[in-house]
């Protein structure tokens, strides 16, 4: 994430340094009573959204559990004042803390105590966690950000690598892909190595990413297992391609 986005709301996400905060569509429609397309920026004055930002800004997996501890599937409590209660889930794969559910009139022990009724009912019905529609919206925003930033970021990284041949330079490209780039000059040939992590780069982004470095044919790129100064970290899902330019 670029530094200019940190602690700002853009469409469905509130950006922190290392992850995003989002509200699930079901929660927006049924619990907040607003459209699923409501930008999170429109809800920044809402008590539970204030709590989401304040309490999850430093620890995405903070808070007591709702239901049993379930490792990476654990749902956690969120609260603001006496009345407002929420349920969050830390989605480690997508780097998102989801506000999955909200209840505005919490009274401990009352018939509609959300920790006894609303939240357990959502879990039992398998409606607590984000659904495909939530990921569609997340990926749509990320795709757009990637397309808008990738060319500029890749060219800036390539220019930096060219300034210091033989040294690997790293940058976040397209808003979220951690990319390494190294340029080596051998006589009249310039070799460019571009390394990235499969977890962060979809197939479409792979095609766009390499073309953002060099508008090229696929045959001009060779997958390699070593950069000049190190082996590719395949244990972490890293992949590297080399481009030769005269």
């Amino acid at each position: 994430m670029s530094e200019s986005h940190i602690n700002t709301a853009v469409r469905g996400s509130y950006f922190l340094a290392n992850y995003e905060l989002r509200i699930a569509a079901r929660c927006l429609e049924e619990d907040f009573g607003v459209s699923a397309a409501t930008p999170i920026g429109d809800l920044l004055d809402h008590p539970i959204v204030k709590a989401l930002i304040k309490d999850r800004a430093t620890d995405p997996d903070a808070g007591k559990t709702i239901g049993p501890e379930a490792g990476e599937d654990t749902i956690r409590r969120l609260g603001y004042g006496h009345d407002h209660r929420g349920a969050t889930w830390w989605d480690r794969t997508e780097n998102v803390v989801w506000l999955c559910a909200y209840h505005r009139k919490h009274r401990s022990g009352a018939a509609d105590d959300p920790f006894k009724k609303h939240f357990p009912e959502l879990i039992a019905a398998k409606r607590m966690k984000p659904a495909a529609v939530d990921y569609e919206a997340l990926f749509a925003e990320r795709d757009e950000r990637f397309v808008d930033l990738v060319q500029r970021d890749a060219q800036a990284l390539l220019a930096e690598a060219r300034r210091e041949p033989g040294a690997e330079k790293r940058a976040v490209v397209g808003g979220e892909a951690n990319v390494g780039c190294l340029v080596e000059v051998v006589e009249t040939l310039e070799e460019t190595y571009v390394a990235f992590f499969i977890e962060e780069v979809t197939y479409e982004r792979f095609v766009i990413l390499l073309n953002a470095f060099y508008v090229s044919r696929f045959e001009e790129w060779e997958q390699v297992r070593h950069m000049p100064h190190r082996a590719i970290d395949e244990a972490s899902g890293e992949v590297c391609y080399r481009y030769l330019k005269e």
């Binding site: 659904a131 397309v147 808008d148 696929f218 890293e238």
Partner: protein
């Protein structure tokens, strides 16, 4: 305005879905190996996609690039939702 018709090969789409389903629950080395096999198996289709995207980049066709970027979004979203559901 985009003029390019860009459609990812069906076999590529199926493998992209498989790789998407592996995210978050598969060791990195297995993912890297799966990628290498994917890239080898689909060389011709990837090559065709490279040519289309190269053309879009040359023309500065943002809408075309977005159209290309969104093609596997639904299968990735379904895979992510299945993973979230556990």
């Amino acid at each position: 305005m985009s003029t390019a018709v860009v459609r990812i090969d069906e076999a590529v789409l199926a493998d992209v879905k498989a790789v998407a389903g592996m995210r978050g629950k598969t060791p990195g080395d297995v993912l890297a190996q799966a990628w290498s096999e994917f890239a080898e198996r689909h060389r011709a289709a990837i090559s065709a996609d490279f040519d289309r995207v190269a053309d879009l980049v040359r023309r500065g066709d943002r809408e075309g690039l977005l159209e290309f970027a969104r093609q596997t979004r639904s299968v990735r979203a379904e895979a992510a939702a299945e993973r979230a559901a556990g």
